[in-house]
């Protein structure tokens, strides 16, 4: 086994730092024809909610310069069907499973989801998706008015993370939104509340208009922007958060190859997640894992951990 790529996220040991971004990889089975899933550092599931969600009306995606917009609206089969229909396949893969969860209402739903998942031993970690821009407002105690997402408010972030932290010992990852003035403030609130790690960034809120029909190109009008177009924003935010917190960071946003994965690691990420690029090249994660190995060998670096935050200023 190749040791140089091992990293730790909370209590979770990863054989390599490359995982997939929630929502871009389904429940892994969709990719089984195109790659060896066993090689992944970890699989992060599509976000699940307590009850099934039908998702938003189509059109849900459109292409933009070096990126895409999506407003899927967290379509998912709900907790029970996730456990009965999706989890058995995920367990068979044999890599850490990180389950992404979200709430339509208040933090009680997060707590209930986390309690149920806490009892399933094959689940390695829980990712709190408090940053999906495509569902209608989430309510939470301690949260000020006029804020759309939990992760746009430090108090609301603290409240949700704190309440989930109380019910699970599993590694807890909090996923942050870039649609904020100061992502560090949100990161610090999540850290104080006891999260084990931070995942950033979720998509940037965007919009595109069809000039022929004069209609928005996404039925929900606004949507989340992803892909290489957002990479510089994501790298910057990774660096800002790295300087302010001691938590391991899972960096993501427009990673398409080894070089772009390394950018995040150098900016301070312990691990990286590949998102939109999975749509373009379903086996891209494997290429990046091989590419990182090659980079270490070529530069005589024994351990990838020595590159975390190794940005020279």
């Amino acid at each position: 086994m190749y040791k140089g790529l091992e990293v730790k996220i909370g209590k979770l040991r990863l054989l390599n730092p490359v995982m997939v971004a929630s929502g871009t990889f389904g429940y892994a089975e969709e990719f089984s024809d195109f790659m060896d899933l066993k090689k992944l550092g970890a699989v992060v599931t599509k976000t699940i909610t307590l009850k099934p969600r039908p998702g938003n009306k189509p059109p849900r995606t459109c292409e933009t310069p070096s990126g895409m917009l999506n407003s899927i609206g967290l379509e998912n089969p709900g907790l029970n069907r996730f456990v009965s229909e999706k989890l058995p396949y995920l367990k068979k893969i044999g890599v850490p499973i990180i389950v992404s969860i979200a709430s339509e209402g208040d933090s009680r739903e997060f707590v209930e989801l986390a309690k149920c998942l806490d009892e399933i031993k094959e689940i390695s970690a829980i990712e709190l998706n408090i940053s999906c821009p495509n569902i209608r407002g989430q309510k939470s105690e301690g949260r000020s008015q006029n804020v759309r997402l939990v992760s746009q408010d430090p108090k609301a972030t603290y409240a949700v993370v704190r309440s989930v932290r109380k019910v699970t010992k599993k590694t807890l990852i909090t996923k942050l939104s870039p649609n904020v003035t100061s992502i560090e403030d949100i990161a610090l609130a999540a850290e104080r509340a006891g999260t084990d790690a931070l995942a950033l960034i979720n998509t940037l809120l965007g919009m595109s208009i069809d000039t022929q029909t004069l209609r928005p190109r996404i039925a929900a009008v606004t949507a989340g922007l992803s892909g290489p177009a957002i990479r510089p924003v994501a790298v910057r935010m990774t660096w800002e958060v790295y300087r302010k917190t001691k938590l391991p960071i899972i960096g993501m946003g427009g990673i398409t190859d080894t070089k772009s994965a390394l950018e995040f690691i150098l900016a301070g990420a312990t691990a990286v997640a590949v998102g939109t690029a999975n749509f373009v090249k379903p086996s891209v994660t494997i290429e990046i894992i091989d590419g990182l190995k090659e980079y270490l060998n070529k530069n005589r670096i024994a351990d990838i951990k020595s590159l975390i935050g190794a940005l020279k200023l």
Binding site: G26, E30, P282
Partner: protein, 266 residues
Amino acid sequence: MSEIKIISNKNIKENYFKMVLDASGIARKALPGQFVNIRVSDGTQPLLRRPLGIHRVTGHQSLVTGIELLFEVVGDGTRLLSQKKAGEYLDVIGPLGNGFSVLGSRFSVLVAGGMGVVPLLFLAERIIQGTEKRNKVNPVVLIGSKTKNGILCAKEFKALGCDVKVATEDGSQGLKGYVTGLLEDVLRHYPLPGTRYPIYACGPTPMLKEISRLSQEYKIPAQISLEAHMACGIGACLGCVVNTKEGFKRVCKEGPVFYAKEILWS
């Protein structure tokens, strides 16, 4: 997914191109109505793959050699694809999706609007190959477009023995009006009133919606191939869904071919 060699890429007329790929692996598995997802640029612009219907399988039934694609240049992706040359390689995933169910009926009607001919030529070949000779009534193929320049493949369908009828919106070829007018005529008179036979259709949404209505009115099942913007093409992103009686379904995975009666039109 693999690097696949381009055998030829020809501008057949105006903005229409025919590309042949050296893809025996895809060809062996391909069913009419399925598609391939092609990366048109190595860079990030355009970022996403382009899904293209399989137009034909090349070679003979026992020894297929590749697939043929027919596409119209409508944007950056198809423009880049049109510039590819024979001998170059393309990253192609496929075949993807659920194609048409070829039903063993004596007679069938194929309805194409514009580029809707793409999967229907492949389908017509399979229908004709699968029909027992003594019982055969050649399929009727109805092709519609705005003008005669957009009428494609009429010759190819005729060569297979299909009975081809054409409609154009400006009356420059065939019936003046929509192709669904031709369909209504067939449903009334052909071959015997009251017989059940399948309709297979591909084309723009308003056409498919009207075919859906007609298929219900005449109680004749219609299989329709839908088009949607896709991000992944493999069922992961849930971006290309269509509203059906059983909730949202993925055009790339459960489709692109659906029974018309399943769809909830907006």
